[in-house]
């Protein structure tokens, strides 16, 4: 490893070296705020033109069911992005949680669910702690996490683990009352709780402060490492919840069950308007993003467009959404 000695010290204050700050961006605050609503409306109308009953009660319920897992993942991802990081390991962690739940349900019953959630939260906290203390970019830590957790999940149970008994400890998530899927209601409840925390609690204010200007937060006496570790722990907890919802849906745990949901959940957060650079955005925007992604996933299925167009749409959506919402003032150098 090359010793990065003092001579490579980046000049701290860039004042004396004026770097041309190209101030251009596709969206101002307002535009990028309204954009997700416009996209959602146009998408829904376009698809209901294809399939008139798309906006019927049944299909909206399917839409809700569809998006409950992505919603849970997106909640955790939003918190991590607000604090200025990213969590690429959520899907793998959700798969690991589903395997743990499926394996432990027969013996421990409801205890298995608590156990899995605790493990997932601990893993998330560990990733946050390593990211902050060892000064490693969060996408590197979570990319390594992606490899580790899916590797471990596959080697624990390289087959799908069907849930033999005690399924009722999990099954209630898959049912529905008055036409509202429990999984979706559970997701909305979680979203509401976290949104209240973001707005009302001291913790929420600190999350935004660190996302906007980590150095100022540090110099204001905020224990940055503790808040960031909490953010990644919350992301781990949401991954656990997503794994739980998965087991409820397919009455089984599998090491690769959630892998395809990583990109949609990140797309949901970014399309909602939360800035990748941190500090801007909230869970209400994320809910909008989740609806857009769900409508797109369902729309592709209903309108018979070739399945190959879905990854193309995600790729384009993610890049455009980030380009519009990234806050150019705060990042001098884009790596």
């Amino acid at each position: 490893m090359s010793p990065v000695g003092p001579i490579n010290q980046q000049p701290d204050s860039d004042e004396h070296i004026a770097i041309g700050d190209r101030r251009h961006g596709l969206g101002t605050g307002l535009v990028s705020g309204m954009a997700p609503v416009a996209v959602l409306v146009t998408l829904a109308l376009a698809i209901s033109a294809f399939a008139p009953s798309f906006l019927s009660a049944y299909s909206l319920r399917v839409l809700a069911e569809e998006s409950s897992v992505i919603l849970l993942l997106a909640i955790g991802q939003t918190i991590v992005i607000i604090v200025g990081g990213i969590d690429l390991s959520m899907a793998a962690l959700a798969s690991l949680a589903s395997v743990i739940i499926a394996l432990l349900l027969p013996e421990l019953g409801a205890g298995a669910v608590l156990g899995a959630l605790c493990i997932a939260t601990l893993i998330g906290a560990l990733q946050g702690f390593v990211h902050v203390q060892a000064k490693i970019p969060s996408f590197i830590v979570t990319l390594a996490g992606l490899g580790m957790w899916s590797g471990i999940a596959l080697s624990i149970a390289n087959t799908t683990v069907p849930v033999a008994e005690h399924f009722e400890a999990v099954g209630w998530l898959d049912a529905q009352t008055w036409g509202v899927p429990h999984a979706f209601a559970f997701g909305m409840l979680t979203l509401g709780l976290f949104q209240i925390a973001l707005v009302r609690l001291r913790l929420g204010r600190y999350l935004y402060a660190i996302g906007m200007a980590e150095r100022v937060a540090l110099l204001s006496g905020i224990r940055v490492w503790r808040i960031k570790t909490f953010a990644f722990a919350a992301s781990g907890f949401c991954s656990g919840l997503a794994g739980l919802a998965m087991v409820a849906r397919t009455s089984s745990g599998s090491p690769t069950i959630a892998d395809s949901l990583l990109l949609p959940s990140i797309a949901a957060v970014l399309v909602g308007g939360t800035a990748i650079t941190g500090g801007h955005g909230n869970l209400a925007r994320t809910l909008l993003g989740v609806c857009i992604v769900a409508v797109m996933r369902v729309g592709v299925a209903v309108s018979g467009i070739a399945p190959a167009y879905e990854p193309i749409a995600y790729g384009a959506l993610v890049v455009i959404a980030v380009a519009m919402t990234v806050d150019r003032r705060s990042i001098g150098i884009v790596k």
Binding site: M1, S2, V4, N8, Q10, D14, I17, I19, R22, G84, I86, L88, V130, H131, A134, K135, I136, P137, S138, F139, I140, L143, A144, G145, L146, G147, M148, W149, S150, G151, I152, L154, S155, N158, E214, P255, L263, I266, I276, T277, A306, A308, Y309, E310, P311, I312, A313, Y314, G315, A316, V318, V319, V322, A323, V326, R328, I331, I333, V334, K335
Partner: protein
């Protein structure tokens, strides 16, 4: 006379520092090889050595492009999508059972050029739209995967061209052809890294970008150049794997990304940019190939390998980051 000494001193100093920097991966390579050789008698045979060379050919070419990208402080998560798209295009332009093209050897430059075009897209999104590199490459990677699925349709093209199939599978002078191709790419990568502006300035852009801007370098041009170069190498790797398997396949790149990143990090390129060399990455690729091959020998399932790679990236990042312990340095 002073001139010759200067040149010699450059290479002596250069090689010395190169050896010192690649001592880590070299150590890993020897340790793993000896370990498995002891554990499995058949491991250290010529045939198995040839296998390891053959199976490390494609990851090595991928690690060349990835070294440049990581040295610049960026990351490329689009490898799996890019390989899928280039593999399909390669399979469709050479003699295959679906289209009537038969461009033969011309398929290689086409696949590489297509990879470079996608790499260019990565670079432009990062520099022009100021999107962080992991987001831009995640987007482009997903788009390329969709394109590959479209091209694959419901009948993945089988490659019929005998010359290319021999190139993919055959050997010359006892060395697998793909290994020779990978060595050629490594030589090209080393030349670009040590003898061209793109290579030398990637150290400057990665190590001290503000100094680069201040000295009047067109930083964005070199960033886009590096992403395009990485794309070119990924396209080449896709063509090689397709020629070997004789099919244009959507999942041809599956699992290659984490392996390439692991190799580059072990190879001495620090994740915060500014250091490392393609030689170090190449040696690390060999070490990982020995590990993977040994795991099959020992009968361990391939799943643990993915977990081990994740662990190595984390440990390497921790070790690399440990020296720079400025409490105020903000790491997103």
């Amino acid at each position: 006379m002073a001139l010759r000494q200067a040149v010699e001193s450059r290479f002596r100093a250069g090689i010395l520092s190169m050896v010192r920097r690649t001592s880590g991966p070299l150590l890993a390579l020897f340790a793993l090889t000896i370990g498995f050789a002891v554990a499995e008698s058949q491991f250290a045979t010529l045939a198995n050595l040839r296998n390891i060379l053959d199976s490390s050919a494609v990851p090595l070419v991928l690690s060349i492009g990835m070294t440049f990208v990581i040295r610049q402080g960026s990351i490329d998560l689009s490898i799996e999508g890019l390989m899928a798209a280039c593999s399909l295009v390669f399979a469709l332009v050479v003699a295959n059972d679906r289209m009537q093209f038969d461009l033969g050897w011309l398929g290689l430059p086409i696949a590489a050029a297509l990879g470079a075009v996608f790499g260019l897209a990565n670079g432009l999104i990062v520099t022009r739209l100021r999107v962080p590199s992991f987001m831009a490459t995640l987007g482009i990677g997903s788009t390329c995967l969709g394109i590959a699925m479209l091209l694959s349709g419901d009948q993945p093209p089988l490659i019929r061209d005998p010359a290319l199939r021999h190139w993919g599978l055959g050997q010359s002078f006892g060395v697998p052809n793909l290994a020779l191709a990978a060595a050629a790419c490594l030589a090209a990568g080393f030349f670009v890294e040590q003898f061209t502006r793109l290579g030398r300035y990637s150290y400057v852009v990665g190590g001290a970008e503000s100094v680069a801007r201040l000295s009047g370098l067109n930083v964005d041009l070199y960033k886009v150049g590096v992403f395009a170069f990485a794309g070119l190498m990924t396209g080449m790797a896709a063509a090689m794997e397709s020629a070997r398997l004789g099919i244009g396949h959507v999942e041809i790149g599956a699992g290659q990304m984490l392996g390439a990143i692991t190799a580059v990090v072990i190879g001495g390129t620090s994740l915060s940019g500014g250091s490392g060399s393609v030689l170090g990455s190449a040696i690390a690729v060999l070490a990982l190939a020995v590990l993977a091959d040994g795991m099959v020998f020992v009968g361990a399932t391939p799943y643990m390998e993915k977990a081990i790679q994740g662990g190595i990236v984390l440990v390497a990042a921790i070790v690399a980051g440990w020296q720079v312990h400025d409490r105020l340095r903000v790491v997103k």
